[in-house]
C-alpha cells in the first residue's frame, strides 16, 4: 500500500492506482471530460488537474493519468486548481457551447462568462469515441488524424470504414453530440439555465427530490436566460 496525503487527509491506496481513482475512492469529486472508467486514460481534456508536491514546489498534473506515489501530497481543490479548471471550462464553452455536458460543468463550477470568441465546434478531441471503438468494440474504425490545431477524428484516409459495425458506441460516449443544450445563442456561449448550485426543491421539501448531478429541476426559483429553451413564454 502507498501512503499519500489527499487534501490533508492521510490515505492509502494500492500501487498502480491513479490519483483520480484514489480521489474518487475517498469520495472527492474531480471533474473529467475525457475519462471513462472502462477505457484507458489519455489525459487529453486536462480538466482533472490536481496539484501535487509541497506548496513551494508544486505543479499541476492530470489526475486520470498520474500514478499514485509514496508520500505524494495531493490537493484537488486548491486555488490554483480551481482557477485553471474554471478557465478551461470557459474555453470549452467558447468552443462547444451546444454540449450539455459542458454547459452542466459550467453551471456546476460557476463559470458564468465567456471572454473568448464564440466557436461552434462539434468535437473537443477527448478521444473517448476512438478508445471505446478500439478498446470495447474491438473495431478500431476511427482514429486521431493530423496534429496540433489540425488534429481531428476520422476514419482512416477519411474513407468509409469497413470495420465500423454502426454500433453507435462513439455517439453514446461523446460528451458533445450525446446531449444538446439548446440554450446558448450565436453570440452567447453560457446558458447557465441549469445553474442550480443547490436544488431548488429544498425550498419546499426536507430532502432533495432527486439525485441528479447537477440538478436539472431548474425552472423553479431561477430565471432562465434569454433564449434558453427552458424559459417560459412571457417570463
Amino acid at each position: 500500500m502507498l501512503e499519500m496525503t489527499l487534501n490533508g487527509l492521510e490515505i492509502q491506496v494500492e500501487p498502480g492506482t491513479t490519483l483520480l481513482e484514489a480521489a474518487n475512492f475517498y469520495g472527492i469529486e474531480i471533474p473529467t471530460l475525457c475519462y471513462d472508467a472502462g477505457l484507458s486514460p489519455i489525459g487529453a481534456c486536462r480538466l482533472c488537474l490536481v496539484e501535487i508536491g509541497s506548496p513551494d514546489r508544486s505543479r499541476l498534473v492530470s489526475a486520470c493519468t498520474f500514478p499514485a506515489q509514496k508520500g505524494l501530497e495531493i490537493r484537488t481543490h486548491s486555488k490554483r486548481v480551481i482557477n485553471a479548471r474554471k478557465l478551461l471550462i470557459e474555453m470549452y464553452l467558447a468552443t462547444c457551447p451546444s454540449s450539455k455536458t459542458i454547459q452542466d460543468l459550467a453551471s456546476k463550477h460557476h463559470v458564468t462568462r465567456v471572454r473568448f470568441k464564440q466557436k461552434h465546434d462539434d468535437c473537443i478531441l477527448c478521444g473517448l469515441c476512438v478508445r471505446i471503438c478500439e478498446e470495447q468494440m474491438q473495431a478500431k474504425a476511427i482514429e486521431f488524424i493530423g496534429r496540433g490545431h489540425e488534429l481531428r477524428i476520422s476514419t482512416f484516409f477519411d474513407k468509409k470504414s469497413e470495420d465500423c459495425r454502426h454500433c453507435g458506441a462513439c455517439m453514446y460516449i461523446c460528451p458533445v453530440c450525446q446531449a444538446r443544450c439548446q440554450g446558448p445563442q450565436e453570440k452567447d456561449a453560457v446558458c447557465n439555465a441549469c445553474l442550480n448550485l443547490e436544488p431548488p426543491c429544498l425550498e419546499e421539501f426536507e430532502d432533495a427530490m432527486c439525485y441528479m448531478d447537477p440538478c436539472v429541476a431548474c425552472e423553479q426559483g431561477h430565471e432562465p436566460r434569454k433564449g434558453c429553451s427552458q424559459r417560459k413564454e412571457g417570463s
Partner: protein
C-alpha cells in the same frame, strides 16, 4: 606504421596509432581549411573547395599542401570562410576567382591579401589571423575549436588530435560509477533544454535493473534558427560518438541510437560514415579495447516535428507510434524505449563527455559554479556577426551580442533578445547583463533552451514577435492536450485582434490569465513553455501592447493594420515617382501637384516610402 585497416584491440594500440597520425600531421602541417558547413555552402564553398583542389593539383602542390573541407568555423555570415593553416590566416567571402591568388600569394609566399581579410564594421579595423578577430576572442571553443583541424570524414584527423583516448580511459581504467562520478563532478548539465544534471540522469539509469538498456542521442533539433547540434554532428561526429559510447558503458547500455531529424540528410551521411569507420577500427562492436564491453549504434530518422524532440515523444516515434509525449512518471530510466531503462542525451551534452574525461581540470575551470563548461549559441537576427558562438557559461548576454556579435546591424539600436528557442523569452536592454546561466535566465522569464539567440532591433514589434512564436507553436503542438491546442489558439486569437487594432483593455489581463493556465495545465515542455513569448513580452514591453490597444498604433511600424501612409503637403514636389511605383494604384495626383494616397486601396507595402527622394511620404 599500423595500417588503419587493422583493428585496435587495446588502449596501447590506440595510443600507437594516435602517435603515428600525430607525427604525420605535424610533419606536413600546411593545409587549407575551407568551411563546408551549411552556412558557407550556401555562399558556394563547395565549388571554392573544388577549385582549390584542382588548382593545387595543377601547380603540383597537392603533395605539400593539404585540404580540409571542415565543419562550421563560426562566422557563417562571412562565408565562404577559408583559413590558411598553420598560421590560421582568416579569409572571408572567398570566391572561386580568389583561389589562384590565394595559392600564389599566401600559400606559397606568405603574402596577405588585404581585400579578403575580415573587417570590423564599426572600427573599420582589419584582422589577419583567426584568433585576433574579436568574434573569436571572447569565445572558448572547447567543442567547436577542433573543427578547423578535422575533416569530418576522416577518423585519422580525429585520432591525431587524441580522439578516442577518453573512451579508452573510460573503458579500460574506470568503472561505470567512477565515470558517473566524474561527470557529476564536472557539473555538466543537459544542453537540450532542461539543464538536468547529466551525471544524475546517468546514475538513475545505472541503478535501474534490467538485462537491456538503451542510450539515445537526441539530434532532433527542431528550434527554428538553431543548428549547433547539426553542426557538431557534421563537423566532428566522432566526438559525439565517443560521448555515446562512454555513456553506454556508464549506464550499462549495449545499444545506442542517434535520433536525427529528417531534415538533416548530410548529418546522417556523416554519422553513417563515422560509424562505419569506428566499426572497422573496433571502436564500436564487440569487446572494445579488450574491455569486454560491446556496443552497437544505430540511426533513427526523426518524424520531423518539433515536439518529437521531447524525450517520451521521441521514444514513441522510434517505436513507430505517433510522436506524442506521455505522462512521466514512469520516468525513462524506469520505462523507456521498448519498456527498458533508457537515457536520452542531447548531441552537445554528449560532445562534452570526451572533453570532460580528457581535460577535466580545464573543463571545471570554465563556466559558473552551477553550470560548468561552455555552451554553443546560435546567434542570429540583427547582429553584425551571425553564426555559432561557443562561450564559457556565465558570460553575459551583452558580451555575446556586443563583443562577439559586433553589435546591432545597420547602425540601428538594440530592442530585445530572445533566448531559448520558440518558447523562450524576450529580454530588454536593461537585462543584457544577465549571465548565460540556467537559473539566472529562468529568473528573468527566459531560458537557456537549446541555445537559440535571436537579436532584435528597434524596427521589431514585440506583439508581432509573440505572434510569430505562437504561430510556430500552434503548428508544432501535438494537439493532444486541450489546454495546449486550444490555449495557444486562443492566445493567438487575442493577439491577432490586437495587431489588427481590435484589442480591448481587458485583453492584457486575459492574456496573462490564460498564459498562466496554459503553462500550468499542459502535459509536456512544449505546452508548459508555450506562453513564455507572451508572458515575457508582456512583462517587458507592456507599453507596446497598450499602444496597440489604446492608441491603435504600432510604435515599431510593423503591424499593417495600425500604420498609415500619407503624403507631406509641404515636401511633395509632385514628381510622381511614387504614383508610378505603387502596385495598388493607390496614389493619385497630377504632375507637379501634391499627390495623395487613398487609404482604402493602400496595401501598406511601403514602396512609396522607399522611392520618394524628397522624404515626403509619411508613415505613422
Amino acid at each position: 606504421m599500423p595500417s588503419l585497416q587493422s583493428r585496435i584491440n587495446t588502449a596501447a594500440d590506440l595510443f600507437r596509432l594516435q602517435e603515428t597520425l600525430q607525427q604525420r600531421a605535424s610533419s606536413n602541417n600546411r593545409y587549407i581549411a575551407v568551411c563546408g558547413d551549411t552556412g558557407c555552402s550556401a555562399w558556394g564553398s563547395k565549388s571554392v573547395k573544388d577549385v582549390f583542389r584542382d588548382c593545387l593539383e595543377q601547380k603540383g602542390l597537392a603533395g605539400q599542401v593539404g585540404m580540409k573541407f571542415t565543419g562550421c568555423l563560426g562566422l557563417c555570415e562571412s562565408g565562404p570562410v577559408v583559413i590558411i593553416c598553420p598560421e590560421q590566416i582568416f579569409y572571408q567571402k572567398v570566391q572561386e576567382e580568389d583561389v589562384e591568388e590565394i595559392i600564389d600569394k599566401t600559400v606559397t609566399r606568405g603574402e596577405i591579401i588585404p581585400r579578403l581579410l575580415y573587417q570590423d564594421v564599426l572600427s573599420g579595423e582589419t584582422y589577419t589571423y583567426m584568433n585576433e578577430i574579436p568574434f573569436y576572442q571572447k569565445q572558448k571553443r572547447l567543442l567547436m575549436g577542433n573543427n578547423l583541424k578535422i575533416d569530418p570524414n576522416s577518423i585519422e584527423d580525429y585520432l591525431a588530435l587524441g580522439g578516442y583516448s577518453a573512451t579508452a580511459r573510460a573503458l579500460t581504467e574506470m568503472t561505470p560509477l567512477e565515470i558517473i562520478d566524474e561527470v557529476k563532478f564536472s557539473k555538466l548539465r543537459g544542453r537540450g533544454g532542461a539543464g538536468f544534471s547529466a551525471g544524475d540522469k546517468w546514475k538513475e539509469c545505472y541503478d535501474a535493473v534490467s538485462d537491456r538498456k538503451y542510450i539515445i542521442c537526441n539530434a532532433d533539433e527542431g528550434d527554428p534558427g538553431a543548428f549547433m547540434d547539426r553542426s557538431l554532428l557534421e563537423g566532428n561526429p566522432h566526438s559525439v560518438l565517443e560521448g555515446l559510447i562512454i555513456g553506454g558503458f556508464a549506464v550499462g547500455a549495449r545499444e545506442g541510437m542517434i535520433y536525427v531529424r529528417a531534415e538533416y540528410p548530410t548529418a546522417v551521411v556523416k554519422i553513417k560514415h563515422a560509424l562505419h569507420q569506428a566499426e572497422e577500427l573496433g571502436l564500436l562492436g564487440e569487446n572494445i579495447f579488450g574491455s569486454g564491453f560491446d556496443f552497437q549504434v544505430s540511426i533513427s530518422i526523426g518524424a520531423g516535428a518539433f515536439v518529437s524532440g521531447e524525450t517520451s515523444a521521441l521514444i514513441a516515434s522510434i517505436e513507430g507510434r505517433a510522436g506524442e509525449p506521455r505522462q512521466k512518471p514512469p520516468r525513462l530510466a524506469q520505462r523507456g524505449l521498448w519498456g527498458r531503462p533508457t537515457v536520452v542525451n542531447n548531441v552537445e551534452s554528449l560532445a562534452n563527455i570526451p572533453v570532460i574525461l580528457r581535460e577535466g581540470e580545464e573543463y571545471r575551470r570554465t563556466g559558473t559554479d552551477k553550470s560548468r563548461g561552455t555552451k554553443i549559441f546560435s546567434l542570429v537576427g540583427k547582429v553584425v556577426n551571425t553564426g555559432l558562438v561557443e562561450v564559457p557559461l556565465g558570460i553575459t548576454i551583452r558580451e555575446i551580442i556586443e563583443d562577439i556579435g559586433g553589435g546591432i546591424k545597420g547602425g540601428r539600436s538594440f530592442k530585445a533578445v530572445q533566448t531559448g528557442g520558440p518558447s523562450g523569452g524576450c529580454l530588454p536592454e536593461h537585462l543584457l547583463d544577465t549571465p548565460t546561466d540556467f537559473e539566472e535566465l529562468n529568473a528573468v522569464g527566459s531560458m537557456m533552451g537549446s541555445g537559440g539567440m535571436i537579436v532584435m532591433d528597434d524596427e521589431t514589434c514585440m506583439v508581432d514577435v509573440a505572434r510569430y512564436f505562437l504561430r510556430f507553436l500552434q503548428d508544432e503542438s501535438c494537439g493532444k492536450c486541450f489546454s495546449c491546442r486550444e490555449g495557444i489558439n486562443r492566445l493567438l486569437e487575442i493577439i491577432d485582434d490586437i495587431v489588427h487594432g481590435l484589442g480591448t483593455p481587458g485583453h492584457i489581463d486575459l492574456l496573462r490569465e490564460l498564459s498562466v493556465v496554459v503553462k500550468d495545465s499542459t502535459l509536456c515542455g512544449l505546452g508548459q513553455t508555450s506562453a513564455n513569448p507572451v508572458l515575457s513580452t508582456l512583462q517587458y514591453f507592456e507599453e507596446e501592447y497598450r499602444a496597440h490597444i489604446k492608441d491603435k498604433k504600432c510604435p515599431a511600424g510593423v503591424c499593417k493594420a495600425l500604420i498609415h501612409f500619407s503624403i507631406d503637403l509641404e515636401k511633395c514636389t509632385g514628381c510622381g515617382v511614387c504614383k508610378k511605383k505603387c502596385p495598388e494604384e493607390a496614389i493619385s495626383g497630377e504632375k507637379k501637384e501634391i499627390h495623395e494616397i487613398d487609404p482604402e486601396r493602400c496595401s501598406k507595402c511601403g514602396i512609396c516610402l522607399d522611392t520618394c527622394t524628397f522624404d515626403a511620404v509619411l508613415k505613422c
